[in-house]
């Protein structure tokens, strides 16, 4: 068993062929965690005792011939996924001792599929942040360069998968919180279509934008997981009844003659030259695969970040109101700076006298951004853009300037505003730092995104380059 080379698909094979046991697998990951986590700080809570126990149970079931799609596979969960009996903090001191009484729907589904929980990963508190520095339990470091940020808010999940401390990890993406850290850490990050995966039991950030996804080493692993987590949930009224495809099975289908649009608005000033050249190189690879590439326009892109920073804090201000310390958790005085900033921003834009000028206007602009995508997807099947305008930046570089930090999300917030799916996949390295590429598609086009990403990944195999 070579943990460095393992993916979920390979681990499944290995367990099936009895090359190794689930116990060995879990022990292997805890060995890596013990070696690396003190430096990287990817986990808030570790569940070693329980995980070893679960692994033994899984091995017993495997020996009895029980078949479950992820039986004995260890995963990490972002700490805003409620896990029954396991402390769930959203990386905020407000919930530092909170132990949930129920599992999030996604946690429940993965547990039923046989997944073993290794631990809960670090994040920017309440998922507010793009660097992993805003955790109340210490920042997370980028495994490819420990002086750089891993991206955020799913910072611990990206770091854990990249540094081989977990086979895969869950994440949430409200404005890029899965895709951007995936891009910074050379892993695959999926933000599914809004309504594809249940939000029930996941600590809400901005309800109309939150998408529930995961970070994996490969595209195939991502497709495999979505096949389990996707689907309508009677506990989430915004989930869609549209059928869940067999994403993994379709992944190898040819991508020849598929039309990809390159939105020109995503390649203007602000985009670092070395990131741009990596994306351009990736487009050349796609052309070699028989994909047709053309330039397109999404004219309202320039308003996206402003719209996002009105709607998102408005919903945040309301969603955080329940943390009053009366029924559970500590009091409001435990909220840290970024949460307070967003509560104040949101409360302001929803106040009478300002509501029309900010919230209502932002909602109208949001519709225009959606319509941009509707129009462009009549011409092309998918879009390719950068994930982040910059390479992973230095720890501390942007913490003093929230506006600069917010700009990290400029290419990712549009998908959340429009509710469309997006996937971030490794697209190479600049100075040994990972660069990610984003593929966007129409609502419920995850199938196509996986196919495009898979064929590119098979040609390039950037995922094989592990951190030093």
């Amino acid at each position: 068993m070579n943990i460095d080379q393992l993916t979920i698909v390979k681990a499944k094979e290995g367990l099936k062929k009895k090359e190794f046991s689930s116990l060995e697998l879990v022990e292997g990951y805890f060995k890596n965690i013990k070696k690396k986590n003190s430096q990287l700080n990817a986990f808030i809570t570790l569940c070693e005792k329980e995980a070893l126990l679960e692994a033994k149970k899984a091995d017993k079931l495997i020996s009895e011939g029980v078949k479950k799609s992820l039986l004995g596979i260890p995963m990490a969960f972002k700490d805003n996924f409620l896990t029954r009996g396991i402390k769930t903090t959203a990386a905020s001191k407000v919930l530092q001792n909170y132990i949930p009484v129920y599992d999030a729907t996604v946690v429940d589904k993965l547990k039923k599929a046989g997944v073993i929980i290794l631990g809960k990963t670090n994040m920017d508190a309440w998922a507010h942040g793009s660097s992993g520095e805003a955790s109340d339990f210490g920042l997370t470091r980028n495994p490819y360069d420990r002086n750089k940020v891993p991206g955020g808010s799913s910072s611990g999940s990206a770091t854990a998968v990249a540094s081989r401390m977990a086979l895969a990890a869950t994440g949430t993406d409200t404005g890029g919180s899965i895709r951007q850290p995936a891009s910074f850490c050379n892993v695959v990050g999926l933000k599914p279509t809004y309504g594809r995966v249940s939000r029930y039991g996941i600590i809400a950030m901005a309800s109309s934008l939150d998408a529930i996804g995961h970070l994996t080493k490969t595209v195939a692993d991502s497709a495999l997981l979505l096949g389990i987590t996707a689907g309508q949930d009677k506990f989430d009224a915004t989930t869609s009844p549209s059928p869940v495809g067999d994403y993994l099975k379709n992944i190898k289908k040819s991508v020849k003659n598929i039309k990809i649009g390159v939105p020109k608005e995503y390649f203007r000033e602000g985009l670092e030259q070395n990131v741009k050249s990596k994306i351009k190189a990736a487009l050349k690879e796609f052309e070699k695969l028989g994909v047709k590439v053309e330039e397109v326009s999404l004219p309202h892109t320039e308003y996206a970040l402003a719209v996002y920073y009105i709607i998102q804090p408005a919903e945040v201000s309301s969603n955080l109101a329940r943390y009053d310390g009366i029924r559970y958790g500590l009091g409001r005085k435990m909220f840290a700076g970024e949460a307070k900033r967003r509560i104040m921003l949101g409360t302001f834009t929803l106040s009478s006298g300002y509501w029309e000028a900010y919230y209502l206007k932002a909602m109208k602009a949001r519709t225009l951004i959606k319509e941009d995508f509707d129009k462009v997807f009549k011409k092309v099947d998918a879009l390719i853009t950068p994930v982040s305008p910059t390479l992973p930046f230095k720890i501390g570089e942007k913490t003093a300037d929230p506006l600069k930090m917010y700009l990290s999300d400029i290419y990712t917030v549009t998908a959340n505003l429009a509710g469309i799916p997006g996937i971030s996949i490794p697209a190479g390295f600049v100075n040994n730092l990972p660069v990610g590429m984003q593929i966007l598609g129409p609502h419920f086009s995850e199938d196509l995104l996986f196919r495009l990403a898979y064929h590119y990944e098979q040609k390039t195999e950037f995922y094989k380059k592990k951190p030093v």
Binding site: L82, P100, V101, A204, L320, S351, W355
Partner: protein
């Protein structure tokens, strides 16, 4: 000086659904152990999401239709943000600009809107172990709550009371709520102001009105209080006042110097609700006969007086009992108006008797009377002839002797006649003889 009175009502009615508004906990909370009908959703735990109860939406539309409202084909839920310990999420899910029903009219009072929201938890303030504490019972948290808002069209306490009674009656007919003011399944806020000819720029909100009677008294008191203030050349303060039953007066609870800003915005956890015409029509067709229609039908079909029809249609149980009895009675040749009279005059406890037994009793009584009709005259004539001495005594003033004659009649008829009836006929015959 004369002033016009403007009264508008805000009525909250708890819907009688099995489950709560946004989760599957039992909605029935009255008299249950505190915090036993709760779940992550109605406790406002992290990650919990609301899923609307379709039945509650249907019931809301039923009420809206009974109040002659327009039904919005596109409506949505909104968040009303404010902090209070009885509100676990820090916001109440309500409806702001697109309620399910709007622009209705009921008893000549315009209905502004009828919308759906969730009830709050129940706070109890008490002294426990020497400390003042507030206890929270979340059983009520998330119970579906209908809000009906009227225009300030009501002119008097009497009209307000009449409106409320009729509204409660209608809602009970729909089997949507018990509308019990004491148990809190119907709650009332009254907005009241006085103006020379048009609605003035202030209003006083009356709360804590736990019965129709209190509401009536509070309105009367408030009209008088506001008139006296205005007559002094002052303007009444815009405020919330409560009713003090002991002292028979309203008292200031809270002055509204600045309207609270609820920061409404569309509830992102619940997609907007589209109702097509077919669904609305289906709900409309499922409406039961409402009290007024029933009353008119009773008058027409059963030839009842307005008075009898009103009494019989006061609640649906009595109305159904009457109709059941009437159809049985018609087969036996008993007039339906007689059934109505007996039901109304004799205060029959309909929960303790079946319609069959009720009609049979009437029939038995009638049969007794029938003997009289055919033969009683002859029998009485015979008894009088055979007892002429007794008749003379009675005529002289020995009233009590009539009982002997009654006994004779009973004997002759084998007890098949009502002795009171026999006595009165005997008296009449003796008088006129």
């Amino acid at each position: 000086m004369t002033f016009k009175t403007f009264i508008g009502l805000e009525i909250h009615i708890e819907l009688k659904t099995k489950a709560k508004m946004f989760c599957r906990c039992a909605a029935d909370y009255f008299g249950h152990e505190p915090n036993t009908h709760v779940c992550p959703v109605c406790l406002g735990l992290p990650g919990a999401l609301p899923v609307p109860n379709k039945k509650a939406i249907e019931l809301t539309i039923m009420v809206g239709q009974a109040l002659n409202c327009q039904i919005n084909s596109f409506s949505k839920f909104d968040r009303k943000n404010y902090f209070y310990p009885d509100l676990p999420k820090g916001y109440q899910i309500s409806q702001y600009d697109l309620p399910f029903c709007k622009n209705g009219e009921f008893l000549n009072v315009k209905i502004t809107r009828t919308h759906l929201e969730e009830d709050t938890a129940k706070l109890t303030h008490l002294r426990l172990d020497g400390k003042e504490v507030s206890l929270i019972d979340f059983n009520r948290s998330g119970v579906p709550l209908l809000e009906i808002v009227t225009e300030p069209d009501i002119k008097s306490s009497k009209q307000a009371k009449g409106f409320l009674k009729k509204l409660a009656q209608t809602v009970r007919y729909l089997n949507v709520s018990d509308c019990n003011m004491e148990k809190g399944s119907m709650r009332l806020e009254v907005n009241i102001s006085l103006g020379k000819d048009r609605l003035p720029d202030y209003k006083v909100e009356l709360k804590n009105l736990n019965s129709f009677r209190f509401a009536e008294k509070a309105i009367d008191y408030e009209i008088k209080r506001q008139r006296e203030t205005l007559e002094k050349g002052e303007k009444p303060i815009q405020e919330t006042r409560g009713w003090d039953e002991k002292r028979q007066r309203t008292f200031s609870q809270r002055t509204k110097e600045e309207a609270q800003d609820y920061r409404y915005f569309p509830e992102p956890d619940i997609p907007p609700i589209r109702l097509n015409e077919k669904e609305v029509t289906e709900i409309k067709n499922s409406l039961p006969e409402l009290p007024e229609e029933k009353k008119q039908r009773f008058i027409k079909v059963y030839r009842l007086s307005e008075y009898n029809a009103s009494l019989l249609t006061e609640n649906i149980k009595t109305a159904n009992f009457f109709e059941g009895s009437a159809s049985l009675a018609q087969k036996e040749g008993i007039e339906t108006s007689k059934i109505a009279n007996i039901l109304n005059n004799r205060k029959i406890n309909i929960s303790k008797i079946s319609t069959g037994k009720f009609v049979k009793d009437i029939l038995d009584e009638k049969n007794k009377v029938q003997i009289k009709d055919q033969d009683l005259d002859k029998i009485i004539k015979k008894v009088l002839e055979n007892n002429q001495e007794v008749v003379k005594e009675i005529k002289k003033g020995k009233e009590i002797a009539i009982e002997f004659l009654v006994g004779q009649v009973m004997k002759e008829t084998k007890g098949q006649v009502d002795p009171n009836h026999a006595r009165s006929i005997l008296r009449e015959k003796i008088k006129s003889a």
